[in-house]
Amino acid sequence: MQTLTQRLANPTRFMELSGMMLPWLFALAAALIAYGLYLVFFVAPPDYQQGETVKIMYIHVPSAWLAMMGYGIAAVSSFGLLVFRHPLADVSAKAVVPIGAAFTFLALVTGSLWGKPMWGTYWVWDARLTSVLILFFLYLGLMALRSSLEDENLAAKLTAVLALVGVAILPIIKFSVEWWNTLHQPSTGFTSSVYPSMRTPLLVMAIGFSTLFVAMHMLAMRNEVLRRRVKAMRMVEVEQRDSGAHAIAQGG
């Protein structure tokens, strides 16, 4: 009996399965986000202190959560590459990094837009903000290291090592608001301290964003698999042309 990850080790099977799932995933993400936005703008009440600016939170919180999940996926994929040598692990690690970086950027931007009216400043050097900024730098470092090596196999493994070293940042981000008493409020999560009329839209947006993330990740993985196939085909073509030219030269 094979596990799902073992069966997906065959890229062809992955392409079939993902091709089948992708349209549904994107449709689901669109529907959830549309419903979430409707709830946010027409159902959720403005906060009694923050007014309408609280609505930035419905984008900020899911982005921040996905920024960390993205790094988690990159780290797990890197582990899968280095330890199990799973053929799709590197494809997954490579595909997730730009998406994770984009969500990290989104979390930072929405956070600072919210901070201006609420804290009176776009940026403070508090523990949560600083640690998320480090996460963004780590994403940049992963992209830079990969792009600076020509040998793709080598680039994949070295990037995986760096991704695993950077994992230490995740608990720091998670607990930064609990270890240090800073400006950024601790996560209330989906606990009862958030009123249900605000909690439901947040939950819908979080699930919608996560679905979008999974769909984009899958799409990027498909692109990467296709890119590798094209590259392999080109190599074969060049080899054949070379050997053909060689044969003509010898024959002549």
């Binding site: 600083t130 480090i134 940049l140 470092g141 830079a144 290291l145 600076s148 080598l154 070295l158 090592v161």
Partner: protein, 222 residues
């Protein structure tokens, strides 16, 4: 064990006899610290307030510039391959070379810092804390830096990439180094916790650094 001591001794001898390496790092440290007051203006009160930050950042940059030395020359002349096939595990090789880097670069930089503190009008009461935090923090600089040095061994434009990879890893060291320093002058009671975390970061990097650096080297030496 004697293999490890031999390796550290060899690296230290190389650092001393090659010349230039240590002098360059110290010279860079001096020049950066001398440049900043020129850019910020000669207000002594301002300088004494930000002296700790300037010294720490200049130290990190000076150490960063010396990092390629950890593996590069050994990789170029092939002795890294000899070390990798020798009896010593690659993790210990990386640890030994990081330790040699700390002794040959980290400690001299940390000891030069108080001298440069005079240029910045650093409060005299802060000197013991400055030396203590820098000696406790620089092992993290060397051992985490070794990861970056190992990762960028074969890259083109390695120096810039090294900075991008390693500086984010240095941020926690910088934060707790500075917070221990400011605690020492403002509220002496708070020095302990920050200093303890700084030391913990160094100890953790002594463990993580060699393992990750060895993994990166092994991938490239195959």
């Amino acid at each position: 064990m004697s293999d490890l001591m031999n390796l550290i001794g060899r690296d230290l001898r190389l650092a001393v006899r090659e010349g230039g390496a240590l002098g360059t790092a110290l010279g860079f440290f001096l020049v950066v610290v001398a440049m900043l007051p020129l850019g910020l203006g000669p207000d002594l009160n301002l300088l004494s307030r930000i002296a700790a930050g300037i010294l720490w950042i200049a130290l990190l940059l000076a150490a960063l510039l010396s990092l390629p030395r950890v593996f590069e020359s050994d990789h170029e002349d092939g002795s890294l391959e000899v070390l990798a096939t020798g009896g010593l595990p690659l993790e210990l090789v990386a640890a030994g070379k990081s330790l040699a880097h700390w002794i040959s670069t980290g400690i001299p930089l940390a000891l030069l810092a108080p001298v440069l503190g005079i240029l910045l009008n650093l409060d005299l009461a802060a000197y013991p804390a400055l030396i203590a935090t820098m000696l406790a923090g620089t092992p993290a600089v060397s051992f985490l830096g070794a990861i970056g040095a190992a990762l960028t061994l074969k890259t083109r434009r390695g120096g810039l990439l090294l900075a991008l990879l390693v500086l984010p890893l240095y941020i926690p060291t910088l934060i707790f180094g500075i917070s221990a320093m400011s605690a020492a002058t403002m509220s002496p009671g708070a020095f302990g916790p920050s200093f303890a975390i700084l030391a913990a970061i160094s100890l953790a990097s002594v463990v993580v650094g060699p393992i990750a650096a060895a993994a990166a080297l092994r991938i490239q030496l195959q």
